[in-house]
Assembly symmetry: C2
Homo-oligomer: 450 residues x 2
């Protein structure tokens, strides 16, 4: 008869303050949307959540389980970055242009380097380490037009056991020759990559036409055909970021009702379709996105950096035509990989529109909101039993200024919690991320040495 101790190493637990979401605080009250335990316990078995709740309520049941305690820290689900370009990590902060000029001047030459698989692998490795350092555990990622850049990315993300969504970029016009594929080659290469990577471990594939400016209708159609063949694969592209882009798309697709329609007509609009930006959508496009359950990646640091415009989150989160929304850093158009800094500028964008984004809403967007948008709420996004245990340990006193602002006491009320979260939104950056855990394993820990 086996001793009960044999089971012992299979379980581990974490004790701290915990916050996660069980509903959308844009539609329900904040107290109905959150779970908050000032002194909570998260029990993990084989990388998944075994139990979650108040420490006092659970402690007797897990008396033999080893506990890692993070006093004074806040644990939340890992952040989900809904739109980012891994090859652009090295060109973050490139000066002075708006979208279309910026692509030609900086982006395309940089992406050309990713023809070299070794280089791509080195950059993917650096990029993923930076994500973990910023508390991002899942991201929806543009690679480049080169299939080997996708292999490089998934090889590195698999090594780290990360739930990542990525894909090869499709571009068959309005791009330099060295970055162009064709409708046919992009179909074949994407299909091969899907077969190789989609649902391989935690990897998920996204068919990734850059945007309607750089894909012919034929290429979009062939991407739509592929998506129809693999209906649980994602679609990842850009939509309505910049006025000059919108005008250019109108010229290129005279028969489309609007920009969204250029994707819709090709069969690219579904509940796993992620559209980055959506700054200049008209009412019809919002309604159609709502109907089709398409996904918006709101990328505030990028929209400000490239002068693209102010996203209308109230319209996306309307009751009549609700659209799924998450937050994206959009590095290198974005200026930081930190989802906290992204929330900071999301708040500023809403303020500039005389709207309001509460800190709890911001944290929702970056966690369960992203997971629900991506149809991954059965796997990630909160601490429901059975979910994959990707989580982060946040230090609300990580700098002298934050230590001045936040006392050592753990917040007890919703109001205190909100206030603390807001200081993280406004002043937090990678330094606020103490540790990042992937499937219950420590994947990043902040060094004491700068």
């Amino acid at each position: 008869m086996p001793s009960p101790n044999l089971n012992y190493p299979m379980l581990k637990a974490f004790r701290a303050a915990f916050l996660d979401f069980i509903a959308d605080p844009f539609y329900l009250t904040e107290s109905e949307s959150i779970r908050y335990f000032p002194d909570g316990l998260l029990v993990i078995k084989e990388g998944k959540v075994e139990a979650f709740g108040d420490y006092e309520a659970l402690k007797d049941e897990y008396i033999d389980t080893p506990i890692t305690a993070y006093p004074g820290m806040l644990i939340t689900p890992g952040f989900i970055d809904m739109h980012v370009h891994f090859p652009q990590i090295e060109m973050i902060g490139s000066y002075g242009e708006q979208l279309l000029e910026w692509l030609n001047k900086y982006t395309f030459p940089t992406e050309g380097k990713f023809n070299d698989k070794n280089y791509a692998q080195e950059m993917a490795s650096f990029f993923l380490d930076e994500l973990l350092k910023n508390g991002t555990t899942t991201a929806v990622v543009f690679a480049t037009v080169f299939p080997q850049s996708v292999d490089a990315f998934f090889e590195e993300s698999s090594k780290r056991n990360l739930r990542m969504i990525a894909g090869k970029v499709l571009m068959d016009r309005n791009a330099p020759d060295y970055l162009k594929d064709t409708a046919k080659s992009s179909y074949e290469q994407s299909k091969e990559l899907i077969e190789k990577w989609h649902n391989n471990g935690r990897s998920l594939y996204a068919i990734t036409p850059r945007f309607s400016v750089t894909s012919t209708p034929e290429q979009l159609q062939s991407a739509g055909k592929l998506l129809a063949d693999y209906p649980d694969v994602y679609l990842h592209t850009h939509l309505s970021e910049n006025r000059a882009e919108v005008a250019f798309v109108k010229e290129l697709f005279p028969d489309s009702k609007n920009y969204l329609d250029t994707y819709d007509q090709a069969g690219l609009l579904g509940e796993r379709s992620v559209f980055a930006h959506c700054v200049h959508l008209d009412d019809q496009e919002f309604q159609r996105l709502s109907e089709a359950r398409g996904i918006i990646a709101f990328c505030p640091t990028s929209n400000l950096f490239l002068g693209s415009g102010l996203f209308n989150i109230n319209q996306a989160k309307s009751s009549e035509y609700p659209v799924k929304v998450g937050l994206g850093t959009d590095v290198g158009g974005g200026t930081s990989l930190s989802m906290l800094q992204t929330m900071n500028e999301a708040y500023k964008v809403t303020q500039m529109r005389q709207q309001k984004l509460s800190p709890l809403q911001a944290f929702f967007l970056a966690t369960l909101g992203g997971a629900k948008a991506l149809c991954l709420e059965d796997k990630i996004g909160n601490f429901d039993v059975g979910k994959e245990a990707d989580f982060i340990v946040i230090n609300p006193r990580s700098t002298p200024l934050m230590a001045l602002r936040n006392s050592e006491e753990v917040p007890n009320t919703l109001e205190e919690l909100s206030e603390r979260l807001f200081t993280l939104v406004i002043m937090g950056d990678d330094r606020a991320i103490q540790s990042t855990y992937i499937m219950g394993e420590l994947a990043y820990e902040k060094s004491l040495i700068c």
Copy 2:
């Protein structure tokens, strides 16, 4: 006969890459505006610049002078923050309101605490240490309505030998009773503080009516009388930050031509008058500011955070009606004490207006631009011989991401330099400030331990 060695300890020198400005890059070309030495030498005697130039050209002359070398680093003049509230350091990142509500809900209760001189001193000390950590060596600072908060501030800034401009807030209406003074008491208290602090060491005084909303015409008039008596004292206030505020001022001053005129009529507009924000000025106000040589403090993180609007830097920097401009953090309405992060959002504001702020222009605003605006260009702002040696050592590779972005090689061309400065503008924060020197003495050095 004294040995030449007796002079030896009086001189010290620093070797690194150096950048400063000799003219305004908004009006002249960048190459005409800057001095850049990839390998430069700064020689200091009794806290002031004794010599500055290329290392090779100067080294023989200073062969006996001890040199501190900062290989790979960039030395610039210390940053000048043109508008900041030291008592608001503890309320940075307060949630969810625009200007007038934000004042009532957060600002006034916080400022009430500064009635306690000990508390004010503790906060002033913390605030000044944070400034030095962010590379800010001069600031134009709001205290509170309590004279003891001004004493506390100047006592702490004097201890650190800082060139600071500050003053007691004047408010005699539309504020809680515990923060109100009167036209008479504010005159008397300000006069006493001027006598005590103005030109006491490096301290300079600013008569500081909060804004026309919280001062009666009588109080503004009495402030104008005081300014007339002390014409080399500064005036520091807010102007045209938010639309509701502008409308309220219009109601309160039905006889004024515009918001600026409420100050102008009281004799408060001169070449040492600093007006924070100026987001919603009309053409007439810009012209009058230009004529009177008034100063604008552009506060981008605050203008975005409070949803105030997008400052029009092109209009301020027009050839026809040029207005003096510097950059302000406006903490606690602003979200960071870092002038680098302030430049980041200044760039974003210009992008949102389809304008452009070059990295060299941004660094100009934060150094010589601020000094010239404040009529302090004979004392600070660049490395001209005889100036006070307040400078900062910037590490362009202070994080792994910045080290990826910036090679170990020192920039040689103007283009390389601009690119590097822009990475600091977009990705830099307090971590990029390696050391801060005040009058040639080390005042802050980044710890290796986080």
